[in-house]
C-alpha cells in the first residue's frame, strides 16, 4: 500500500502531456515586466528608476519587510519605466519594465553548470544567502523561504519534507527538474536540512512519476538521512498539510503552521533554487515553466527568466491554438485564468495551461441534490455545500464556526459537484470576508 492522506481527495485526468519533454532554455525576451510583489507578504521596494542600466542578477527591488523577498533583474538592459500592469492576479500591480540588451551577468554569479557539492555547514550563513537571493516557495504559494527556515520562538523543526508531488494535472515542471537536476536538488536538500538543523528529510513523489522516484532513490542510496517516499496518486496531495499527513501521518491542527508538528515543507523547485543561491550565488531569476494543453502543438518545459511575457512561451510552444478558450497561469485545479498574453511569468508560475474553448466554459449551475460528494472529497473535512450557502447568504459567523478558514482552495468540491455548482467561488469569498472580520477583531 502506497502512502497517501486519508480525508477526501479526487483524481482528475492527469494529462501530463509534457512529461517526457526535456527542459529547454527559452530564448531571451525582448522586454520583461517584473512585478515587485511576486511573493506572499509585503511588496518589495523598487530600487531602480527609468533609464537605469541593470545586469542579470542585479537587485532591483529590496524586500519590504521580514515576510518579503528581494527581486532581482532577470535580464540585462535599460529600465523603461516603473509602472502598473496586470499580472496573473488579475489586477494591475506595480512592477519594473526592462528592455533587454544583451545578456550581461553580475560578476558574483557562477554561471557554469558544474555541480558544487561542498558547503560550509553554517545555518545562519545559508539562510542569509537564501534571503539575499530572494528565494520563495516555487510550488505556487510563493512564501519567502528564509522565513520558513526560521521557526518561531519555542518551535523546533524535526524534519524537512520536500514536495515533489506535483498533483496538479498537466504540469510537469517539477517532474522534469527532478529527472534532470536530481543531484543539484539533493545538495539543495542538504543545504535546507543544514539551515533547519534537522537530520531527516523526506521527498514525497506521486507514483505516476516512477522514473523520478527511481532516479532520486538512486542518488540517495548512500544517505540514510534522506528518504524518497512514493505516494498514491491523489489530488491535492501537494497541499502542505496533506503532504505532511501522507508522509508522516501527522495532522497539522486547524489554524496552525506545519512547524507545529515539526515539519517544514519545501518544493523541489525551491530546493534547486536554494542550491543555486547558496552554491552559485545566483538569485532567483529563472524557473522551469510547463506550457501545455490538449491543442498546444509542442507541450514543453522551458527554463524561463522571470518577467517574460506568456506570449513568448506560447510562441515557443508552437503558437496559440485556434480553439483556445482559456489560458491558465498554473494548473487547471488551482491556477488563475489570465486575460492577456502580456502577463509575465513570475516566481510562482509553475505552468501555463491552455484550455480549448469547449472545455473552458462551465456548465450551467443546477440546484444542489445534496449528494454529499463535496463533503466526501474535501481534504480538510469541511462541508462545502454549507459553506457556499452561508457565504452566499452572508452569514459570516456560521462560516467561521464551520471552519471556512481551513479551506485550502484546492477546488476538489467544485470539481466533483454533479450539479456544477461553483462551490469554491463562494467559499473563497466567505474565506476572504471571514479573514477580514478576524483581522479587524484582533486590532
Amino acid at each position: 500500500m502506497l502512502k497517501t492522506f486519508k480525508l477526501g481527495g479526487v483524481h482528475p485526468a492527469e494529462n501530463k502531456l509534457s512529461a517526457d519533454k526535456a527542459i529547454e532554455k527559452l530564448a531571451l525576451p525582448k522586454s520583461v515586466f517584473i512585478p515587485i510583489a511576486q511573493h506572499i507578504g509585503a511588496p518589495a521596494q523598487a530600487l531602480v528608476k527609468k533609464g537605469d542600466q541593470v545586469k542579470v542578477g542585479q537587485l532591483i527591488a529590496q524586500a519590504g519587510g521580514f515576510v518579503s523577498a528581494n527581486i532581482h533583474s532577470s535580464v540585462s538592459g535599460t529600465v523603461k519605466k516603473v509602472d502598473m500592469a496586470p499580472d496573473a492576479s488579475g489586477y494591475p500591480k506595480q512592477g519594473i519594465f526592462i528592455d533587454v540588451e544583451g545578456d550581461e551577468w553580475m560578476e558574483s554569479i557562477h554561471t557554469g553548470d558544474d555541480l558544487v557539492t561542498d558547503f560550509q555547514a553554517d545555518s545562519k550563513a545559508i539562510i542569509d544567502k537564501i534571503n539575499v537571493a530572494g528565494v520563495v516557495g516555487l510550488g505556487g504559494a510563493t512564501f519567502p523561504t528564509h522565513v520558513k527556515l526560521m521557526p518561531p520562538q519555542g518551535m523546533k523543526a524535526e524534519m524537512l519534507i520536500i514536495n515533489g508531488v506535483e498533483c496538479e494535472p498537466y504540469l510537469t515542471s517539477d517532474h522534469r527538474l527532478m529527472l534532470e537536476k536530481g543531484s543539484e536538488i539533493m545538495v539543495g536538500i542538504r543545504l535546507l536540512m543544514c539551515a533547519l538543523q534537522v537530520n531527516k528529510a523526506y521527498v514525497g513523489i506521486e507514483n505516476n512519476k516512477k522514473d523520478a522516484i527511481a532516479h532520486l532513490r538512486n542518488l540517495v542510496s548512500a544517505d540514510s538521512s534522506i528518504e524518497v517516499v512514493p505516494l498514491k496518486v491523489k489530488y491535492p496531495q501537494g497541499g502542505e498539510k496533506q503532504l505532511i499527513k501522507a508522509v508522516t501521518g501527522r495532522e497539522v491542527p486547524s489554524g496552525a503552521l506545519p512547524i507545529a508538528v515539526g515539519a517544514v515543507v519545501s518544493n523541489v523547485g525551491t530546493a534547486f533554487a536554494v542550491y543555486e543561491a547558496v552554491q552559485k550565488n545566483k538569485p532567483l531569476i529563472e524557473r522551469v515553466v510547463t506550457i501545455t494543453g490538449k491543442s498546444v502543438k509542442k507541450p514543453s518545459n522551458f527554463l524561463v527568466r522571470v518577467g517574460t511575457p506568456v506570449q513568448d512561451l506560447v510562441d515557443a510552444a508552437g503558437g496559440l491554438p485556434e480553439d483556445t478558450g482559456k489560458i491558465i497561469s498554473g494548473g487547471p485545479m488551482m491556477g488563475k485564468a489570465i486575460a492577456s498574453l502580456e502577463v509575465p511569468v513570475t516566481k510562482g508560475t509553475s505552468g501555463i495551461t491552455i484550455m480549448p474553448a469547449p472545455e473552458a466554459k462551465r456548465e450551467v449551475m443546477k440546484s444542489c441534490i445534496r449528494c454529499g460528494r463535496c463533503v466526501t472529497v474535501c481534504p480538510m473535512g469541511l462541508e462545502p455545500y454549507y459553506l457556499m450557502t452561508v457565504s452566499d447568504k452572508q452569514i459570516w459567523d456560521k462560516a467561521e464556526t464551520n471552519r471556512v478558514m481551513d479551506c485550502i482552495e484546492c477546488g476538489s468540491c467544485s470539481y466533483t459537484c454533479p450539479a456544477d455548482r461553483p462551490l469554491l467561488d463562494y467559499i473563497r469569498l466567505g474565506k476572504g470576508k471571514v479573514g477580514q472580520i478576524i483581522r479587524s477583531r484582533k486590532k
Binding site: G90, A360, R362, L429
Partner: protein, 307 residues
Amino acid sequence: MTIVYTIITLSAIGTLAAVILYFVAQKFKVYEDPRIDDVEKALPGANCGGCGFAGCRAFAEACVKADDLASLYCPVGGNDCMSGVAGILGLEAVVQTPKVAVVRCNGSCEHRPKTNQYDGALSCAVAASLYSGDTGCQYGCLGCGDCVVACDFDAIHMNPETGLPEVIDDKCVACGACVEACPKTLIELRKKGPKDRKIYVACRNEDKGGIAKKSCEVACIGCSKCFKVCPFDAITMSNNLAFIDADKCKLCRKCVLECPTNAIIEVNFPPRKIKEDLPPKPAEKAEKPVAAPKSATDKNQPDNTEN
C-alpha cells in the same frame, strides 16, 4: 356516545392548556415601554436595515431610548415618518434631505468593450475578488447584479442592453443596501434635487486619462475642465477623477457641456436651450429611461414637460 367523550376530553385539555398559558404569561411578563410599539407602528416596517439597526423594532427601541433624534433617521419613511416618531416621543425631528441611489458608472457594452468573458459564479463579489473585470476598466460595473439582489424595494434592475443597473427613483428609499453590496463602490446616495434633478460624474475610473479613455469612451479622464468651469466650487479633483458635491452643486449644468467624454450626467432636466456659440456635441444615447433628452442633438424636439 363516542362523540360526547371526545368533545368533553378535548374541551378539558383546551381549558387546562389555556389556564396554564395564562399563568405562565403572567409570571414571565416583561415590561416594555408601550411607546416602542407606537413608534414601530409609525415606521414603514420594511426591516431593511437602512437606519443601521437590525430592523424596525430595533430602531424603535433605539428611538425610545434616545434623548434626541439627531443621529436616528429612517431613510425609507423619510421626514414625514420621522416627524411622526418625534411626535410620539415628544422630541424634535431632524429634517434630512431625501436621497436617492445613483450608479456612478456609465460603461455600457457600447461604451466599454469587453476584453474577456467572465464565466464564474454570477456574483459581483466573486468576480471582484477574482480579477479586475471583463473590460479594460478595473473600476467599473461588473454587471452581475449584486445590487439588484440586495434591494428589498425592487428599485434597481439590470438593463440587459447596457449591462448596467438602473435605479427607479420613485421606488428607491435610499436604504443603502446596494451601496454596501457593490464591491466597486459605484453606488452613491445622492441628494434628491428639486424635481429629482441631479448632476453627477458617472465614473470612478482613477486611471490616467489616456488609459481610462482607452478602456471606456465615457470615462472621466481627469482633465479638470469641469473643475475650472464650475462657478460654485462644487467639483473636486482627486486621483484623475472629478466628483461633484451635491450640497454645493446648484445644478447650473455648465460642467455637463464642458465634459469632453460625456462622463457627467444630468437627470430629469428639461431639454436645454441651445446657445449659438456652443459646438454641437456628439450624439449620445440616453443613459436612463427617466433621463430627459439632454444633448444638443435633441434640440429640435419641442419642450416637453419635466417628467
